[in-house]
């Protein structure tokens, strides 16, 4: 073998990954400062909204859920790919997940952290947020466990805690490796995070069992979380929301958008951190196949939803779906169809699945398409409810757009910090998967030849 995979051995894996943790340069800190400034702009805008009231948003009757709830659903969805790649594919012993799962898992945690902000941002009086928590109280507020919003609070909080636990557990041996190679304050930092891990076979025995069982617990959890999020809508008697296919439809959409964002982030990160040897075109090809499959499932869901609206012959349902395609939100709907159903079909071509530029561009389209999908479902369905006299066109204001933009900056800020201070690729699993990585390099070389 003569290519980049020829040097792959245990020590080389450590060098490859620990190289990503070298002190960052000026460009990195400029990016961090830029993202922090955008987050600060979002926080100031939110303060303005809290001070002035929700009237500064575009929320008017009948559209009282719109951009903020779209962002909530979008970010919870983004989180799902991380659990798919790290937990579900771990249980299936998938070979290609090894170098990409840590980045995806990290995304899960930061995406849920971002999503969790939006129910609070959406509150008119955020200082009373604890009224939403179901506990016995002297205010006579009923803890209503029959409400999907309460299920949501439990599901998303559980998801965040379990995702952090899973990420942290997987990090421990890698942080210990970073500790052993680091000096100065970094060594002290990694020493605390490594918890005194020394890689004894006894420790590995308990680690492997804990990791396996956490993966087993995370798998039904991830499916439940977006199902519960979808029931926020499906439980309501609103045309366009009240549908039995919402749970699988939302879970598929979540994995679809999440995997697309993994591509969007991982393609530049691989280049910037010099991880070409760890993450090969074969890994991107495999990820693209998952995206293609999910695109087909999402397309099928759109078709089923529309077919049932027509076949059910409910005039309200039919009108909602007609207006979705030909009403005021039609441009957004057709953009969504193009981004989620048509453009991903390019992934049937192996050449495109192996072209990182093409994948990056396609992933951006999918991100846009999936955000629009949530917006069309949420705001579009509310704007044309049962009473035509109530119909109204919702348009986000600068406040909502600034906060939405800041949420992306908030997510990227955390991810950027993580990528430079903690191992973004699992050394432990990469060492276990060296034969498969060598095979991936050989295959890439054979194709290039």
């Amino acid at each position: 073998m003569s290519g980049p995979g020829r040097e792959l051995d245990y020590a080389h894996v450590n060098r490859l990954v620990l190289r990503t943790l070298t002190p960052p340069g000026r460009a990195y800190w400029t990016l961090v400062a830029l993202l922090a400034a955008m987050v600060a702009a979002g926080a100031s805008t939110w303060m303005f909204q809290v001070w002035t009231g929700l009237g500064v948003t575009g929320l008017r009757q009948p559209v009282m859920w719109a951009t903020y709830i779209t962002n909530f659903v979008f970010w919870v969805g983004i989180a799902h790919s991380g659990t798919l790649i790290s937990a579900i594919l771990f249980l299936f012993r998938s070979r290609w997940r090894t170098p990409v799962y840590r980045a995806a898992e990290t995304m899960t945690v930061f995406a849920v952290m971002t999503a969790g902000l939006f129910p609070l941002i959406h509150l008119g009086r955020v200082w009373f947020f604890y009224w939403l928590l179901p506990y016995p109280n002297e205010r006579g507020l009923q803890p209503n466990f029959r409400s999907p919003l309460v299920w949501d609070a439990f599901a998303v909080s559980t998801y965040l805690i379990v995702s952090v636990t899973f990420l942290f557990l997987g990090l421990v041996p890698d942080v210990a490796a970073a500790r052993d190679a680091a000096r100065g304050w970094r060594r002290r930092f990694y020493t605390v995070l490594a918890l005194g891990w020394h890689g004894t076979v006894e420790q590995w025995r308990h680690f492997s069992m804990a990791y396996l069982l956490l993966a087993g617990l995370a798998t039904p959890l991830v499916i439940s979380v977006h199902s519960v999020v979808s029931w926020d809508f499906a439980m309501a008697q609103l045309p366009g929301w009240h549908s039995t296919i919402f749970a699988p439809y939302f879970v598929a959409g979540a994995i679809f958008s999440g995997c697309a964002l993994v591509l969007t982030l991982l393609i530049p990160v691989r280049r910037l951190l010099g991880l070409e040897e760890a993450i090969t075109p074969w890994h991107f090809d495999s990820l693209a196949k998952v995206i293609l499959l999910m695109s087909l499932v999402v397309t099928y869901s759109y078709a089923t939803e529309s077919f049932i609206a027509w076949y059910g012959n409910n005039p309200f349902e039919k009108t909602t779906f007609w207006l979705r395609a030909f009403g005021p939100y039609a441009p957004l709907f057709w953009t969504m169809v193009a981004c989620n159903c048509v453009i991903p079909l390019l992934l049937f071509s192996r050449r495109i699945r192996r072209s990182l530029r093409a994948l990056f561009v396609i992933s951006l389209f999918i991100n846009v398409g999936m955000w629009l999908e949530r917006f069309v479902i949420i705001a579009g369905s509310l704007s044309t409810n049962f009473m035509p006299s109530q119909w109204a066109f919702y348009r986000p204001t600068w406040v909502e757009m600034t906060i939405t933009g800041a949420s992306f900056a908030w997510f990227l800020l955390w991810f950027t910090l993580f990528a430079k201070f903690l191992p973004i690729v699992s050394m432990t699993e990469l060492k276990e998967g060296i034969p498969w990585l060598r095979q991936a390099h050989e295959e890439t070389e054979a194709r290039a030849a």
Binding site: F145, W151, F166, L195, G196, E202, Q203, H206, L213, T428
Partner: protein, 170 residues
């Protein structure tokens, strides 16, 4: 514990380390530590380790979470008997969702606790026999034996494939 000599042997891979374990077993001396840079099934088998009790922590945590979920939802609903949507006060189907989420939550946290307890972390004092190469590319065995057995043991470990063998006073 045998007094005298501590022998540290470093191996380049899993297979040679397993042979080293077998050599130590044949020599009848005390194996006090085995290190590896990643989890190895073959080493677990060679050492005759049983499955980790962390699974019991997860099971008990999960059961506690499930019962807590039903206790919380049924108890609070009975404490606030307010009919909504024409549904019974104790509506089991929606309560299953809360119980399910708490099953996962308690199971995961309990599993993490079980890992911390059994893996004996966190700890800040360093493992005395630890070599930083164990987190990089070396598998290691630590053996305590009588000083008179040191040379024979070293020969056996080198024959098994050890690339480095060190002797220290225990």
């Amino acid at each position: 514990m045998t007094e005298g000599l501590r022998v540290t042997a470093l191996f380049p891979d899993e297979g040679t380390c397993v042979r080293g374990v077998e050599a130590v077993r044949r020599a009848g001396v005390e194996l006090t530590g085995v290190f590896s840079p990643f989890p190895c099934e073959a080493l677990h088998h060679a050492l005759g380790q049983r499955r980790s009790p962390v699974r019991l922590w997860v099971l008990l945590g999960g059961l506690t979470g499930c019962l807590s979920g039903f206790w919380l939802t049924i108890g609070l609903s009975l404490a606030y008997p307010h009919v909504t949507g024409g549904m019974p006060i104790v509506s089991i189907p929606p309560f299953v969702i809360i119980a399910f989420e708490l099953t996962i939550l308690f199971g995961a946290l309990s599993g993490l606790t079980g890992f911390l307890v059994h893996a004996r972390v966190p700890r800040l004092d360093p493992e005395p026999d630890y070599d930083p190469r164990f987190s990089e590319d070396r598998f290691g065995l630590i053996v305590r034996c009588h000083p008179a057995h040191g040379a024979l043991l070293e020969a056996a470990l080198r024959e098994a494939g050890a690339t480095e063998v060190r002797h220290d006073r225990a």
